[in-house]
Amino acid sequence: METGLEHYLIVSALLFSLGLLGVVLHRNLILMFMSLELMLNAANLTLVAFSRFNNDLDGQLLVFFIIAVAAAEVAIGLALIVALFRRRQTTSTEDIATLKL
């Protein structure tokens, strides 16, 4: 069986949904962050697949930017989570509820 565009799209849609589920269900900030990375990589896979099957390099260009931006986001994110952990000794979203109605 030949691997076609739709196979890539289905896999990336599954990855995206898994990532979204992870963000919604997890209560741990680090795990939520990992799930977010999964969602971004699902978008990357879609872009690369479209790029390959449309014979157009723009998609791959965006992928490079997404990888760079995701790295920056992780750096900031882990720094913030560590700073919060130092103050509150927790990485669970249930414990960070100072700001509420």
Binding site: F33, L40, G59, E73, I76, G77, L80, L84, I96
Partner: protein, 476 residues
């Protein structure tokens, strides 16, 4: 390739780097004054922007990624003015920042450059990178007060939800790119009818709307706004409320004007729900910044009305509204920054007796809330007036617009109640715990006086700004 088109952005980035470098040779006591240097630089760049003419037809650079036209130039001036005000507030705020005031200035300037690039984005790649530049700068700025749990929490919440929204945005971009075969907005707009009605394309556009809707904080993607507005340092809350929101609207307007409008019925529902949600939730609030957060959501709803019309009049109304909102929100946040200095809280009670403690600050705050409520003769009134006109104009084409205008009027009526609560706290407080006068630094007095004059000017003599907006939009 025409680098000279992005001269403003390049200057802003270099200014940010210059502040960072100067920090190395500045003694700790003088670091706070670097804010003046940054402001002077931005004033120069703003002045320089008036030497740039609006081109007859849009000009592009970087193989079509970057576009220079009237809309972009208008938003860039708006962002520059906002950043000047924010940096002056940040200088006032500096003693409350434990370390790294120079970095605070620099990152604010980098966020500004992201907004300016977003105003000129004509291609998914530039739009994505610009939005992420804004977002990442704001994650840092929101969590900048590391000794305050509220600030860190707001930073983490903004980070998680912001990253979630950008995954939606980028996945939507990927789907649109795959079906339309291009990432350039004008080329996507040329796609055939069959492509544009395909489910994958429409799902992609919907996901892009989710990503941008988060930026402008409209229902149902508004839940981050109150927490982040409350937790962030006051100058950054002002920057979020004006700059970040305007950047999202600049991109949505760009999509609209490129011929890729979001579905009107969906936008009408979003606008109506946002107006009601923002105004109703603002009613019981006791925290000033949180109250302004909810009021900011309501204002995003009013602005989304202009988007829902999809017409030139709607776009003009949005631009005018932002012009008025700039002065109004700047006045309100300047007062909050000054008044919260001694008490270090943002509770409504810090305003008690402000009418006696500092008549200038009380007047500025009173005019700001009157303008936010949309009562004549201030800027907020004329902005809302233009938005209502644009919506009613579309009524004959699509009857839901009448309903939207009705909901907006209900929203305005609700908002008068909580805005009046602020005025009552200042002039007729239940108790006055503090009676000492509040010293206000000269630069902030200037910011406040300019904001007051701006509100009055745009409210009573709106013709000049309307003419500028006409010129800006006619070049498209």
């Amino acid at each position: 390739m025409n680098l000279s088109l992005c001269i403003l952005e390049i200057s802003v980035v270099f200014l940010g780097l210059a502040v960072l470098l100067l920090d190395l040779w500045t003694p700790p006591a003088g670091k706070r004054s670097l804010g003046y240097f940054a402001v002077a630089g931005l004033v120069l760049i703003l002045g320089g922007s008036f030497l740039i003419e609006i081109p007859q037809t849009p000009e592009t650079a970087f193989t079509g990624l970057f576009v220079h036209d009237g809309l972009a130039l208008f938003f860039k001036r708006l962002f520059l003015l906002t950043a000047i005000g924010v940096l002056l507030l940040a200088r006032e705020f500096a003693p409350r920042i434990p370390t790294g005031i120079s970095e605070f200035y620099t990152i604010t300037i980098f966020a500004l450059s992201g907004m300016m690039f977003a105003a000129s984005a004509n291609h998914f790649v530039l739009a994505f990178v610009a939005l992420e530049l804004i977002a990442i700068c704001f994650y840092i700025l929101t969590g900048f007060l590391r000794h305050r749990t509220a600030s860190l929490e707001a930073g983490v919440k903004y980070l998680i939800l912001g990253a979630l929204s950008s995954s939606f945005l980028v996945y939507g971009m990927a789907l649109v790119y795959g079906t339309a075969g291009s990432m350039s907005l004008p080329e996507i707009a040329e796609a055939t009818e069959a492509t544009r009605t395909s489910p994958l394309f429409q799902l992609g556009m919907l996901l892009i709307l989710v990503g941008l809707g988060f930026k402008i904080a409209v229902f149902p993607w508004q839940f981050w706004a109150p927490d982040v507005y409350q937790g962030a340092p006051a100058p950054i809350t002002a920057f979020l409320a004006i700059g970040s929101k305007a950047a999202g609207f600049a991109l949505l307007l760009r999509l609209n004007l490129s011929g890729l409008p979001m579905p009107a019925d969906l936008l009408i529902l979003i606008a109506a729900a946002t107006i009601l949600y923002g105004n109703l939730c603002a009613l019981p609030q006791r925290n000033l910044k949180r109250l302004l957060g909810y009021s900011g959501i309501a204002h995003a709803g009013y602005l989304a009305m202009g988007l829902a019309t999809g017409s030139q009049a709607g776009a003009e109304a949005i631009l005018f509204y932002f012009g008025g909102y700039l002065f109004t929100a700047m006045a309100a946040f300047a007062v909050i920054t000054i008044v919260s200095r001694e008490t270090d809280t943002d509770d409504l009670s810090i305003l008690y007796g402000l009418g006696k403690r500092s008549p200038l600050l009380a007047l500025a705050m009173a005019l700001a809330v009157v303008s936010l409520a949309g009562i004549p003769p201030l800027a907020g009134f004329f902005g809302k007036f233009l938005l209502f006109l644009a919506v009613l104009e579309q009524g004959p084409n699509f009857a839901l617009h009448y309903l939207l205008a009705g909901v907006a009027i209900v929203g305005v009526a609700i908002s008068i109640y909580y805005y009046f609560g602020i005025i009552r706290a200042m002039y007729w407080p239940r108790r006055t715990p503090l009676t000492s006068p509040i010293p206000t630094h000269l630069t902030l007095q200037i910011v406040i006086v300019i904001s007051i004059l701006g509100m009055l000017w745009l409210g009573m003599l709106p013709g000049y700004l309307v003419e500028i907006i006409d010129q800006s939009l006619n070049s498209l």
